[in-house]
């Protein structure tokens, strides 16, 4: 399948700008972003607070729309799709890991992991959830609710959920930002290992250079612009 071949472009951002009204004037969050992410690549996005990292991630996922420019995922322009089409696109192609975990509090750990697979309506959601919970070392805690898990455990469940539907693109927003150093490290190792195993493309937002060290490529943002790029 061409989709899994490394090297070709999975995600393209062309001339992206994003501005929001603020206090009676337009505030520029991102300006003239040009970026290609290749299939199988691990890209880290770095920058200080307010540099536009999270907005960039939202645009990549179709959670937000650019003010100018276009976003292409697997060659398809997504910035003009309807909300419905975007939802289906995310369902099939995009996985998320958030700084604040964003697990559904009413669902158990296993149900959280199962949900994206159930949305696809194919395969054995329960089996896949068990497989991933085992991979993140939480087999025994599948029946627990998020409130009954520690922060690190919650983020590991979030990792399992993100990988569950086998997304082509995995987006992670400061996944270790709410965790202490050791726990964060463990979660990060898991993320990297799972990515390698599943062959996913990963875009990770962080302001921690140590985390970014693990990436194939590092994009430095400042004031909404790409300041520089580094390749490992």
């Amino acid at each position: 399948m061409s989709k899994k071949e490394p090297g070709n472009v999975l995600l393209s951002l062309r001339g992206i700008g994003r501005s929001l009204p603020s206090g009676g004037r337009m505030l520029t969050i991102l300006d003239d972003i040009e970026l290609d992410v290749r299939r199988g690549e691990f890209v880290a996005v770095l920058g200080p607070s307010g540099s536009g990292k999270s907005t960039l991630l939202a645009l990549m996922a179709g959670l937000d729309r650019p003010s100018t420019g276009m976003v292409l995922l697997e060659g398809e322009r997504i910035d003009q799709l309807s909300e419905d089409r975007l939802a289906v696109l995310r369902r099939h192609k995009v996985g998320f890991v958030f700084q604040s975990f964003q697990l559904l509090g009413n669902l158990t750990a296993r149900e959280n992991v199962q949900l994206p697979v159930e949305l696809l309506g194919v395969g054995d959601a329960r089996g896949r959830a068990d497989e991933l919970l085992a991979a993140v070392g939480l087999s025994a805690r599948g029946h627990h609710y998020p409130s009954q898990l520690s922060g690190g455990e919650q983020q590991r469940v979030a990792l399992a959920r993100a990988f569950a539907p086998r997304p082509a693109l995995l987006l992670a927003d400061e996944p270790t930002g709410n965790l202490d150093g050791a726990t964060g490290r463990r979660v990060l190792d898991l993320l990297v290992a799972l990515r390698a195993e599943e062959g996913s493309t990963l875009v990770l937002v962080t302001h921690d250079p140590a985390v970014a060290e693990l990436a194939d490529r590092r994009i430095h943002l400042r004031d909404g612009r790409i300041e520089r790029e580094e390749t490992a």
């Binding site: 959670l63 696109l89 995009v94 998320f96 159930e118």
Partner: protein
Amino acid sequence: MKILSWLALAARETRGSSGRLVFFAACLSVGVAAVVAVAGLSNAVDRAIQAQARELLAADLAVESRRPIPGQVLTAIDGIAGSRRAGVLELPSVVSNPAASQGTDAPGPSLLCELKAVEPGYPFYGSLETDPEGTIEQLLDRDRLLVAPEALTRLGTAVGGSLRVGDADFTIAGVITAEPDRLAVSFTLGPRVLLSQEGLERTGLVGMGSRVRHRVLVRLADGSTTDDVALARSVIGTAIPDPEFVDVESYVEAQPSLRTGLGRVERFLGLVALLSLLIGGIGVAQAVRAWLAGRLDAIAVLRAIGVRPHEVFVLYLGQTVVLALVGSAAGAVAGALAAQAVPGLLSGLIPVQVEVGWQPAAMLRGIGLGVGVALLFGLRPLFDVVRVPPVRVLRRDVDPLPVRRGIAAAMWAVLLIGIGATAAVQSGSVLRGAQFAAGLIGATAALVLGAWVVIRAVGRTPRETGSVALRHGLAALGRPGSGTLGAVVALGLGVVTVLGMYLIEDRLSAQLDAELPDEAPSAFLIDIQPDQWPGVRAVLEEADAEDVDSVEVVAGRLRSVAGVPVADLVQERGRDRRWVLTREQRLSTMESLPEDNVIVDGALWSYPDRPEVSVEQEYAADLGVGVGDSLVFDIQGVPLELLVTSIRTVDWTRFTINFFLVVEPGVLDEAPRTRIAATRIPEASESTLQDRLAASFPNVTMLRLRQLLDKVVGILLQVGLAVRMLGAFTVLAGIAILAGAISAGAVRRGRAVALYKTLGMTRAQVAAVFAVEYALVGLVAGGIGTVGGIVLSWAVTRFGFEIAWAWTPAAYLVALISTVALSVVAGLSASVRALAVRPLAILRQGD
């Protein structure tokens, strides 16, 4: 995604929201319970009437008239193979106990009773229960009669004693303990006295101008079908020479006029019940909004991982429907239980023996209405889930986008039309549904405006002085977005309903119960024969009767109105106010009109060549006649054509002798007549006067105005109690909403409690702050509701019943204080958890 996965997700999504969802369900339960109780009870009563139709008629068919049943009708009945018939005559008359007067000058005690003379065979269905037991044939003959137990007590006699009815003395053969064809709820002039037809003849009462109701009960051959009944009915119908004055009723129709009346009561009570359900709808909207506000993050996650907007909508809509089903089902069970308890509580209002049971049809209807109302009110807040942007997973400060104006307007339209539709279902009429909806929407708009103005004013009130609790309570009520507006409006609507109903009932019974006007008569004497008048007058004078007024009247029937035969008009009109045309008309002659009559059209006795009649204004409108039209009467078989030459108004509230029809003097000179009289006597002398008249003039019936009004007041109080019991459901719904609103703000309240405690307030002090806030909510709701209740009752009493209005500040004060108390109790109960919060637990959570 597969259906099962959706259902599972929907079920999982409700976890953890149970507390809030209980309020959602409670809001609906209260209203559904009221709806089911009304529908269940009326279904049960209707079914009981139908099931007991033969017993209630005591026959398969009954022919009824104010005149003797024509011979050809009796022949026709006898011609139906296997049929049997029994005549029944009913009339009111004063009955006395002559034995009590023996050896004294004073006459024995007397009592206005309802006489019923029956022929053997009565009752064909159901049983007449007597003590001692026995058949009509065994217990009644020309000298013996049966009486209701209360007549024995009031006349100071016993079984075996004697009673005088008309000119004849009878022995009391026993008491009547149950009479199949006498409805428990009907308005009666007095206790029953049952005699044989020979006995009634002996009294000499029939044929003296009395109001006799003639009936013939018919029993068809055993095994007759409803088709046979219909056939017999048509055979009898064709034999009737003047069908406009004769009614034929079969058990198949099962008391049509009673059921029409009950149907009206059911529709009215059904709308009162619906009101509590609709108020509950406000609570549903509030609960859904609060519930979804707490789910915004979860909705954003669902959207981020690929759930489409309409799928999120369906997900939450489905949960709303399930919750509505649960709440409505609980309400339906409560309503069915309440309906089963009502016959015990309001026995005087239920006309027949009723086994209420579970009433599945009423329960289903209640559940249907409950779910419908939940969807109507929940739709607008539910639609907000479509507008939750998925980017909220990255930026929590992103709020849901506003719903487009067109969609919002469409949803309001759906809500308003839906309210009209539910009211149409409950009232059985689109027009009444629309009127109810318009009235409710108007009242709600007025309450919203009133509440908004007051809350805004409270928000701007300077709070530099006063206790901490008062200042914080004022601040909490006036704070924008406090969510108390909905609760205030709902509670206010409940107060409007209960207080309004109470005030209307209070005004009506006060009006009926009030001392009669100084100049009004307190007793009417009817059926006085012309030769008896000097004697009756002498008795009245002896009894110190004042302002004796007396008029001769001629009984007649309308034959045609403005050239159209009454039979045709009756056909056109159906049952609606048919009595206007078919009743026995009392015609009087007067040279000049009493001073409370005012001519509004034409002139009195202005037409020298034609016999004239003056008609009362509203009666003329009912008949559809004006000046220049003619009315033809049948006076004892002789036709008399009268020209309407004047229309006049009458002040009926003075209770003086007045007539719809006044005829030119001289015209009725040849006609047979009776006399009626009105007089005013002290209440204490009424019984003595009645006793004296009964002893000397037994055919004269004395109607005591105070007693009659007391009976009307008695019925009114029971109806009022029923309406207020239902009205209480609206207040309950309002309270549930208040509690729901408070519970919805539990997190905010918990945080406030934590802060207050951190700053050094004791738990009691925090509770006081909250109590002041809830008391203010109750005060605003109670105040606005009281004003609304006063306006409602004023409008209804003044323009609906056309009676005087009076202020009753005590009732307003009770309404206000009760609302405040209920509000504080409900509010503090809903805040128990928030009050128990430890400061650290909340402050650590941050945002």
